[in-house]
Amino acid sequence: MRMSLAQRVLLTWLFTLLFLIMLVLKLDEKAPWNWFLIFIPIWIFDTILLVMIIVKMAGRCKSGYDPRNGSQNLKKKAWYLAAMLLKLAFCLALCAKLEQFPVMNLTYVFIPLWALLIGGMIELGYNIFYVRRD
């Protein structure tokens, strides 16, 4: 079952709004909560996305699945999975830095984000310059 664009937009919008509200409350010192609690909307959203990707990848194992053109699709899904894990690693490292390890170098926190951004930009660049030329 595939979600419609409206449902996907609503899901993204709702979790972003919730996260921003909690972030503002924390930054303005109105809510003395742990940073891991502030990130709850992000954890839920990431879990939903991860489950969706894993279910789609597992769909290949069903009997009667047509493997033609499947390797390209699987590569894409594997990249999405890696991207989600990188985003999750960045958020976890950021929370850990803010909550418990203030002396930890920020470089280590940002390495997953940089990997994610570089990967995303390569994919976007491929779509802009290579696919269009085709």
Partner: protein, 136 residues
């Protein structure tokens, strides 16, 4: 992932090239942020850290103006005006947010609270939701 590039372009109204520009700005700004916070580039001001975002906003505005002028010349007047207004609204809200955040971080001003700084982002989110309903 959740959205295809085509859906993202349709929803946000930005061209893929502009998305690439904003992603590049985020990458450069995050590197500058790390250099500043880790004490490698202590002389770097907060305005310097945010400079890639300002540059990306400027380039995006330039790109949008060119596209709108071309659309206008091709007779697509309504589309040109709508695109120009939408992108300029998004970019100006983003710019206000970045400027307020920069001011807060640089001067540690107590009059600026984060709820106020985030106000343009909340407006942006509502606009994006309305546009999503229209796109559908």
């Amino acid at each position: 992932m959740l959205f295809s590039l085509r859906e993202l372009v349709q929803w946000l109204g930005f061209a893929p090239f502009e998305l690439l520009l904003q992603a590049l700005a985020l990458l450069v700004a995050s590197v500058l942020l790390v250099l500043k916070v880790d004490g490698v580039a202590t002389g770097l001001s907060w305005w310097g850290v945010f400079a890639p975002f300002f540059a990306a906003d400027g380039l995006s505005t330039y790109f949008t103006t060119i596209v709108s002028v071309r659309l206008f010349q091709d007779g697509e007047k309504r589309l040109a005006v709508l695109r120009l207004f939408w992108i300029l609204t998004l970019l100006s809200l983003k710019f206000v947010f970045e400027m307020l955040l920069c001011q807060k971080l640089g001067e540690q001003s107590h009059e600026l609270w984060y709820g106020l700084i985030m106000a343009p982002v909340f407006i942006l989110l509502q606009l994006l939701m309305i546009r999503a309903c229209r796109v559908n």
